[in-house]
Symmetry: C2
DNA sequence: CTTTAATTGACTGACGGTCGGTCATTTAAT
DNA sequence: ATTAAATGACCGACCGTCAGTCAATTAAAG
């Protein structure tokens, strides 16, 4: 035997070392050489851990998304009602604290749309399903508590998609000036419609 | 003086000549040389008309989107009610007839997310605003006709975003198996909520 | 000393983008 | 009618860059 390194950990370390570089320079500007240099490794070593630049982004989003989910889960515990809980989710798309992850997620979505990579798709599915299940669960609770009308259960995927769609629109057009306001306006109106009257 | 060509027309011609190549091979696979070859021009000539491969896609989407909008406008005339009109819009994301444009639009969105190009953003804004205004108008009509509740006016952008978001989710995850069904389910439920009771 | 995992950066082939040069057509002077 | 000058269109050889490879090197463990 010889030196044994924790490949999983080293992969994480390399990814995190390049976080700022990627956030600032996007996926185009920094070359593999630059990335390797930033992480303090040789170019060959980079390829020992990642198949491509895309995979580095994938790793970064993975790490930060899992961290983010933990934070969200804690915030949800303190939320008063279903509407507030949904706003906590959608906060991902405008909160200052998630700015870094958001920039990376934007690139990640872009790459997913351009070269539908198998593992990326699997990860996106995993994320989507996790969020969607959360959504479904808390909406079910809202219905059970007589907070919102039962129709809401059929809208879980759609509400999630609305936030995503608005985020992408706000990033690719000038048509959505204040994403937070726009999203909240939609959620508030929807909950007005869903409100169980006489409650 | 010398030969004068219609640059605008030739740009269109080059773009359309490469349509299938791009649809099949995406934005990565075909090289500029291959593209030039397909269009029957030299590589240098390509650069007379386009700054980059991205701009070719931009031109293609422009052309096909304008064609698509004309078709949609005609379909809208025959629509019975507001809900059907909205379904005509969202049909873009699943109808067989718009499959080509959809593939290109997917790439276009991906690129917009990756390297927010000024002109691309302007074009996306133009498209979004056009669709959004249409949405707003037909929702206003629906409210005026007492078809739907006045809250709907506040949801125009959101509904549009939902369709976009679901489309992107369906393209980047395995979580949305039947986009048409999923979108229609959402729209139907929303219109149930918006329905003016006793009408 | 041997074995083997880990690392490396020089090397290569491919590709994007440029630029000097050619070609075709029009103009206009003779 | 002829031809020289002018110019826009077109082209592909060339150049620099960069992704990805691989032979050589290092160093830990037996």
């Amino acid at each position: 035997m010889a030196i044994i390194v924790d490949k999983t950990q080293k992969k994480r370390d390399i990814a995190l070392a390049c976080k700022d570089l990627i956030i600032k320079g996007g996926m185009q500007e920094p070359t593999i050489s630059k990335i390797a240099q930033t992480a303090g490794i040789g170019k060959g070593t980079f390829y020992e851990y990642f198949k491509s630049k895309d995979e580095l982004l994938f790793e970064l989003v993975s790490i930060l998304m899992r961290e983010h989910n933990i934070k969200i889960e804690k915030q949800l515990e303190n939320a008063e009602n279903t509407k507030e809980k949904i706003k906590i989710f959608s906060g991902f798309f405008y909160d200052k604290e998630s700015a870094d992850l958001r920039v990376l997620y934007k690139m990640f979505t872009g790459i997913s749309l351009l070269h539908s990579h198998k593992e990326m798709m699997a990860f996106q599915t995993e994320c989507f399903d996790a969020y969607y299940l959360w959504f479904e669960k808390l909406i079910e609770e809202g219905v059970k508590n007589n907070e919102i009308a039962p129709e809401a259960t059929k809208m879980a995927k759609g509400i999630f998609a609305t936030a995503k769609g608005m985020f992408i629109a706000s990033e690719t057009t000038h048509s959505i000036v204040d994403l937070k306001e726009e999203l909240n306006k939609y959620i508030n109106t929807l909950f007005e419609l869903l409100s169980v009257k006489g409650q």
